[in-house]
């Protein structure tokens, strides 16, 4: 715990500011690549175009709240299909669990927006105020012009990034190029500015000020993760079997010469200095550790310099360390085990079901509601009609005509109120592109066919062009 010295009394701890030192190495490079790729996707995705024809927006990813549509490349989701997001959430959770079962908190260390934006903010801080030592000194210094200038410059750049983050967010909800122009000329809707303001504030506060406090105190994942993990998951681990007893480089040399056991850890504190959450990995697995692996980079650099093997801090398990100390064989890394297979199977099943559903879903639809008052209507010639409210769905980008037919008692006729178009005597309802249309439909059955109080009927809508057919089943009621 970084905050065990309780200056403020026993109940509340003053946050200790963390000054992470810059570091180079394999994992640092990996993190930079992930940062560039993920932020690149976030900031520029709204500008990617995707042609859907003249009737629909051509933005690849668009949440169209006004028209209640969600577009994702070739996929278009209607409000009644939001259950796809349930599938996405299940997959997201399972991917998180799978990552955790294989190599711990990869999500936290590399992919979480909190980590990515904090990394970016730290890079800015380093650029303006210098590395760890300079920053500590700067904070301790009196407020001279240089300090004021540096602080202002840092917060200015931070706010700029935060503003851009908010700006990119709203672009997902409207045509991006248009909205950019409107924003620049102050013609955009108020909601756009409000949301940019909110996102600017949260980004600036979370990545600039809160940082590791978010992970330690606000995020539920560390707690859930601790309950989900097992002995076989690889974690960023200080190999105390190799590192202890710690001693200076010279001391270790002397000890080794004398045949006394000596640890490789030279207690240089580099792993602590680079840690973005301000912990000491040598205390073992901790809730605060986001497994960014930067301590591994730092330690490897030192080990290389002093001519000792790298990997004193590495992805490993406690069980392996214990096995090495006891001289028993280590367990080989088992990425394929019962739990990873279950996670993988769930991801495959849910993902497969979603893909299948998306690929085979109909581009038309029909819903009908039977009139309740009256349930049926007697005509002067003794025939009976039932009225239905029918809603036809056209999920294609073109206008489509649907011919309505009815399967039911002999002689059943179908008629659409206020619609006169027909094709082969069938009433034809034309539905606009990417829209629905509600019509009132009357099904009339001649007196001779009225035998029972309730007979099943099927109303069929056939696309006159594409031939797609959708059906709805209901009952026809009569006096019996």
């Amino acid at each position: 715990m970084s905050s065990t010295d309780l200056d403020d009394g026993p109940l509340y701890a003053t946050a200790q500011k963390v000054y992470p030192q810059s570091v180079t190495g394999f994992y640092r490079r990996l993190k930079w690549i992930v940062l560039v790729v993920t932020l690149g996707i976030y900031y520029f995705l709204p500008f990617v175009r995707w042609d859907r024809g003249s009737n629909l927006p051509n933005q690849a990813v668009l949440v169209d709240l006004t028209n209640r549509r969600f577009y994702f490349f070739p996929i278009e989701i209607w409000p009644q299909e939001v259950y796809y997001f349930t599938g996405l959430l299940v997959i997201a959770a399972m991917v998180l669990f799978l990552m955790n079962a294989i190599a711990g908190r990869i999500w936290c260390g590399y992919l979480c927006p909190q980590t990515v934006w904090t990394d970016l903010y730290l890079a800015v801080e380093r650029l303006v105020e210098g590395d760890r030592r300079e920053r500590i000194k700067l904070d301790e210094r009196v407020w001279d012009l240089d300090k004021i200038f540096r602080k202002i410059a840092k917060h200015f750049i931070w706010l700029g990034i935060a503003w851009w983050t908010g700006g990119a967010w709203v672009l997902y909800f409207a045509d991006a190029p248009t909205l950019v122009r409107e924003l620049a000329t102050f013609e955009a809707p108020m909601a756009a500015y409000v949301w940019i303001g909110i996102l600017t504030f949260t980004t600036y506060a979370l990545a600039g000020w809160m940082r590791e406090q978010v992970c330690t105190y606000m995020c539920p994942w560390p707690r859930i993760q601790a309950a989900l993990t097992d002995d076989e998951a690889y974690n960023v681990t200080y190999r105390y079997d190799r590192g202890e007893p710690r001693m200076s480089l010279k001391g270790a040399k002397r000890a080794r010469d004398a045949g006394v056991p000596a640890g490789d850890c030279v207690d240089c504190n580099q792993c602590v200095a680079v840690c973005p959450t301000g912990i000491d990995i040598r205390h073992g697995a901790q809730l605060e550790c986001i497994q960014c692996s930067l301590c591994m980079d730092a330690c490897d650099t030192v080990m290389t310099k002093i001519g000792r093997p790298t990997g004193l801090i590495a992805f490993d398990t406690d069980n392996n360390i214990k096995a090495r100390i006891a001289g028993t064989p280590e367990k080989p890394f088992h990425p394929i085990r019962a739990r990873t297979l279950v996670y993988f199977a769930l991801i495959t099943i849910v993902g497969g079901a979603m893909v299948f559903q998306l690929a085979t879903r109909s581009t038309a639809g029909i819903n009908l509601i039977h009139d309740r008052t009256p349930l049926f209507v007697l005509h002067s010639d003794g025939s009976v009609h039932n009225a239905f409210t029918v809603r036809l769905f056209n999920k294609r980008p073109d206008t489509r005509p649907f011919a309505l037919t009815v399967d039911g008692p002999p002689g059943a006729q179908i008629e659409v109120v206020n619609v006169s178009a027909t094709s082969d005597w069938r009433p034809v309802v034309t539905v606009d592109a990417d829209a629905t249309r509600e019509v009132r439909v009357l099904v009339t059955v001649p007196k001779a066919s009225l035998k029972e109080k309730s007979v099943p009927i099927t109303i069929k809508a056939s696309d006159l062009f594409a031939g797609e057919v959708v059906i709805a089943k209901d009952h026809f009621f009569g006096p019996g």
Binding site: T4, D5, P10, T14, Q213, A387, V417
Partner: protein, 292 residues
């Protein structure tokens, strides 16, 4: 907490609160100070709320807040905005003919929506929510119309009502109370009633003399209901040959009708509703399924 009473858990090295239950000690893992500060900030925020919004109850009223906000006033503003929006859209309904509204999908859907709402408010008490009607209150879904089922007929009926006492142009007709007023004797009423049932193919009572019944019908009823009993929409005289009976088709019900007469009453809605609403209602009723 570097006091002399400090007690540390020897496994984690964390200070304890000093509380102990059955040998289990409570570790003291302090919350960050900023968490507490956020709590204080929410309290200060609450004071702001009291100033800006209605808050504390007083004896007969409450603190209104500097903005004077109330959700009721907010609804009123929204309703006014909606009304203004509707007025603009509905103005077009007032300008064009009924048939033109039917032909324009946009106007039609507007009229249907307005008509449906107005029907629920004004017509449903008698005709039922879906216009299903009941004994004495016509079903508006069927094809049988006492006073005509074209758009224009329906509109006229709505506008002026039926036997309305406060509209000069109201639809009016009166069936004599043949039995009550002594025009027909009791057995003659029964004869006519039986004959009326034959018009739509219903059974008659045993011993019914059809020729007598037919003669009585021709003398007393045919003037309004027609020689063959097909009715007359000009007079609101029902068609007696069809399957639809507003007051019932049993022999007793028909006897009652002929004895006492029937005269339904409908208000003249032109005097109660604005012209656009009446128009919308006509379109809606016409679209229920029986419109001609």
């Amino acid at each position: 907490m570097a006091g002399q009473n400090e007690d540390r858990d020897h496994i984690t090295g964390t200070a304890t609160t000093g509380h102990e239950w059955d040998g289990i000690k409570e570790l003291n893992t302090p919350l960050p100070r900023w968490w507490l500060n956020i709590f204080y900030a929410t309290i200060i925020w609450a004071f702001g709320y009291w100033v800006v919004y209605p808050s504390w109850p007083l004896i007969s009223s409450h603190l209104p807040g500097v903005t004077g906000y109330s959700s009721r006033a907010e609804v009123a503003v929204e309703l006014d905005a909606l009304k203004a929006k509707r007025t603009a859209a509905a103005a077009d309904l007032g300008k064009v003919e009924l048939a033109a509204i039917k032909a324009d999908p946009k106007l039609l859907s507007l009229a249907l929506a307005q008509g449906k709402a107005a029907f629920g408010d004004n017509c449903a008490p008698c005709h039922g929510l879906g216009g299903a009607g009941s004994k004495g209150y016509p079903n508006l879904n069927d094809d049988d119309w006492l006073w005509g089922g074209t758009l224009q007929d329906i509109h006229t009926t709505l506008q002026h009502g039926i036997r309305s006492t406060n509209d000069d142009k109201t639809r009016i007709s009166a069936m004599p109370a043949f039995g009550k007023d002594g025009i027909l004797k009791k057995e003659e009423v029964r004869l006519v009633a039986n004959y009326v049932r034959t018009l739509s193919g219903l059974s008659t009572e045993t011993g019914f003399d059809k020729a007598k019944g037919e003669k009585l019908f021709a003398e007393n009823c045919a003037a309004c209901h027609g020689d063959k009993g097909a009715g007359n929409k000009e007079l609101g005289a029902p068609n007696l040959t069809d399957a639809i009976w507003l007051y019932g088709s049993s022999i007793d019900e028909i006897v009652e009708t002929v004895t006492n007469s029937r005269a339904g009453l409908m208000p003249a809605w032109g005097a109660r509703l604005d012209p656009i609403t009446v128009k919308s209602l006509a379109i809606y009723v016409h679209s229920l399924g029986g419109g001609k």
